[in-house]
């Protein structure tokens, strides 16, 4: 397949492309999923403010 005689290497080649397709399909299917709720956002912002301090130390 694709000029690669060894089926295990051909499988790796195909699986690389197949797993990329999986990532693309998953990304498209969940493009708008996963928005945080308000209470979570408040916690996230508190976390981010602390993270800002960590960054400043660098």
């Amino acid at each position: 397949m694709l000029g690669i005689e060894d089926k295990w290497v051909a499988a790796a080649y195909i699986l690389c492309i197949a797993s990329t397709v999986l990532c693309v399909v998953y990304g498209l299917a969940t493009w708008n999923r996963g928005q945080e709720k308000d209470e979570q956002v408040a916690e996230d912002i508190r976390w981010a403010e602390e993270e800002k301090k960590v960054e400043k130390e660098l």
Binding site: I4, E5, W8, V9, Y26, E57
Partner: protein
């Protein structure tokens, strides 16, 4: 001197690039441009910018030059690593681990990977231990990244390795001072974009040069006879073939190198990379993680998939179009395909052909006779042909990709590729040194002394020490085969020491503090034992085992395959078993603590 060797246009383009990157870094320093700023301000960031900045952090010169070179030596079987990079490193990591890591980090107000483990398992020891391991071993991985960049610069511009190391060190130091460690989204994304364009162009050029996808692969497969005998003995069966799997014979050594060490070590090790886990936490919402799966998958395919495919195909390019080697046939490998081992010869000043001492090469003959010579009273033809990549790289797999770019690609492409590699190096190094600094400052110093917020000086000192160690390592340990090895050591160590505790922290409420501590310590101890005394490539370099055994490079030397087995094969299962068994006999965390950790999730 540098201008003479490199050329003024190249220097100007690199300077212009650096100015843009530094300007973006400075903007981030002055204003609000990091992921954290976006989170605080509640602003949206384009998913492409987000994912490209991730990709730029994950993929380094180590992957492109080091592992690309390994593919040039071992062939396309390395594509199993690309599959793992995409399926495990992107899909599994982003879909299953990242949302939970982000949630746990935010619930526990953890800002580093050791801090997350320490707070989840309520163990200061675990945080300090993990911080120390990361602080001590990340410079090894950083050195692999630096060596990859230096080798390319040195080969591309024909300058000394030391000079390129000096220049790269100055650039990195300046980048750090300019605020580059803060992971400014737009400079990371710019670097990611350049990497993407550079690698895509490399793939297209290469397939064009070798006559297309199918034809290129077929002809690459026909070069199997040119594989040096030493590699054939350990199981190399050609550049498009898997090495044989088995146990108890040295012909299985290559399988044990390609699959457990390279594919599993790096492919699975990526899941417990401290700098990657921190990236998960700085994402604004899990929606960004979902979106990053799309861009990340494509990005990694174009990075490692291209590097490994091109690395392997470079053999075909060199054999068919590389600089011609002349000599007399001393062994026919495949008469039909015109493959033979030649004694390299050169024409001297008087016009006579003479052997170049100790220089032999397997070549694909191009059918031309360029002269004749008398050997032992017999007239022998002087023929010419092209050899495989490792021969042109002088036996140094890390030089394969740089040699290929220099020989096969137009000069302007070398420049684009230089920017690609600089981008890959800078974005990865900045996240590595970020992690070095927070490990020693926040995780070790602040935890041991109890002085919260007082670790700034230690953090900064830690970064300087980390950079100096990485530069020294790059200077003394420049052997290019070190790149994939050092990367695999760090990734394998992270997997064996941290993966069970990390996955347990996210998914297993039953996992106890004692289990996490023992699993981490034993994973680390077994890996260290294996690297010091068993795996001959590393143990032999370190030297302790020779002192203990009177010169052997492994305590299991002479027992085929054992001394090629990667620590991850032994250490990770032991670490998992320890985590499960110790959890069965020790006290579970309190319900209140678990409720805090897993608030809002099942």
């Amino acid at each position: 001197m540098l201008a003479e060797a490199v050329g003024l246009p190249e220097i100007l383009v690199v300077l212009a690039y650096l100015m843009v990157v530094f300007y973006l870094g400075w903007l981030g320093y002055m204003h609000t441009r990091t992921a954290t700023d976006y989170m605080i301000a509640g602003r949206k960031i384009h998913p492409f910018v987000m994912a490209l900045s991730y990709g730029a952090t994950f993929i380094s010169t180590s992957a492109i030059v080091g592992f690309g070179g390994a593919a040039g030596l071992f062939g396309m079987s390395l594509l199993w690593l690309t599959f793992c990079n995409i399926f495990v490193g992107i899909f599994i990591a982003f879909v299953f681990l990242a949302p939970r890591a982000r949630m746990l980090g935010h619930h526990l107000d953890a800002h580093t990977f050791p801090e997350m483990l320490g707070r989840r398992y309520q163990s200061k020891f675990l945080q300090v231990f993990a911080g120390l391991v990361i602080f001590l071993f990340i410079p090894l991985y950083a050195a692999a990244v630096m060596i990859g960049g230096c080798l390319f610069v040195a080969t591309q511009f024909g300058i000394q390795y030391e000079t390129s190391l000096l220049v790269l060190s100055i650039i990195i130091a300046a980048y750090v001072v300019m605020g580059g460690l803060k992971g400014v989204m737009y400079s990371d994304a710019l670097q990611g974009s350049i990497m993407f364009i550079g690698m895509l162009a490399l793939l297209i050029f290469t397939y064009m040069k070798v006559g297309g996808i199918t034809a290129g692969h077929e002809r690459l497969g026909e070069l199997a006879a040119l594989v040096p005998a030493k590699l054939q003995a350990i199981g190399h069966r050609g550049f498009t073939a898997m090495p044989p799997f088995g146990w108890g014979d040295i012909k299985y050594n290559m399988w044990w190198l390609v699959i457990p060490t390279i594919t599993l070590g790096v492919g699975i090790g990526v899941l417990a990379q401290p700098q990657l886990v921190v990236r998960f936490m700085t994402v604004k919402s899990t929606r960004e993680l979902n979106r990053a799966v799309l861009v990340g998958g494509v990005f990694i395919l174009i990075m490692t998939g291209v590097a490994f495919t091109v690395g392997a195909l470079s053999n075909l390019f060199f054999a068919e179009h590389g600089p011609r080697m002349t000599g007399r046939v001393i062994k026919t490998l495949d008469e039909e395909k015109g493959q033979a081992v030649i004694q390299i010869m050169k024409m001297d000043d008087s016009g006579k052909w003479a052997d170049v001492e100790d220089k032999k090469a397997p070549v694909l003959l191009d059918g031309e006779v360029v002269g004749s010579v008398t050997v032992d009273g017999e007239a022998v033809e002087v023929v010419q042909g092209g050899s495989i990549s490792i021969v042109y790289a002088g036996g140094d797999s890390g030089k394969i990709i740089p040699e290929y770019i220099t020989t096969a690609m137009p000069k302007w492409f070398g420049l684009l590729f230089l920017l690609t590699l600089l981008s890959a190096a800078m974005s990865t190094l900045s996240s590595q040194f970020h992690t070095v600094g927070t490990s020693i400052g926040r995780d070790v110093f602040e935890q041991i002394t109890g002085q919260k917020g007082k670790g700034i000086a230690v953090t900064r000192m830690g970064i300087i020490v980390g950079i100096v160690i990485a530069v020294l390592w790059s200077y003394f340990w420049r052997e290019s085969t070190v790149i994939p090895r050092a990367t695999a050591i760090f990734f394998g160590l992270c997997a064996s020491a941290f993966l069970p505790s990390f996955v347990g922290a996210l998914y297993c409420k039953w996992m106890t503090r004692a289990a996490a501590i023992w699993s981490t310590v034993i994973g680390f101890a077994v890996t260290s034992f294996w690297l010091l005394l068993v795996k001959s490539a590393e143990a032999g370099d370190i030297g302790l085992v020779q002192k203990l055994t009177g010169g052997k490079t492994s305590i299991l030397a002479g027992k085929p395959n054992w001394d090629w087995v990667d620590p991850i094969v032994v250490a990770l299962p032991i670490s998992i078993i320890v985590a499960i068994v110790v959890s069965m006999f020790t006290k579970r965390p309190s319900d209140e603590h678990l409720a805090k950790c897993f608030k809002g999730s099942k």
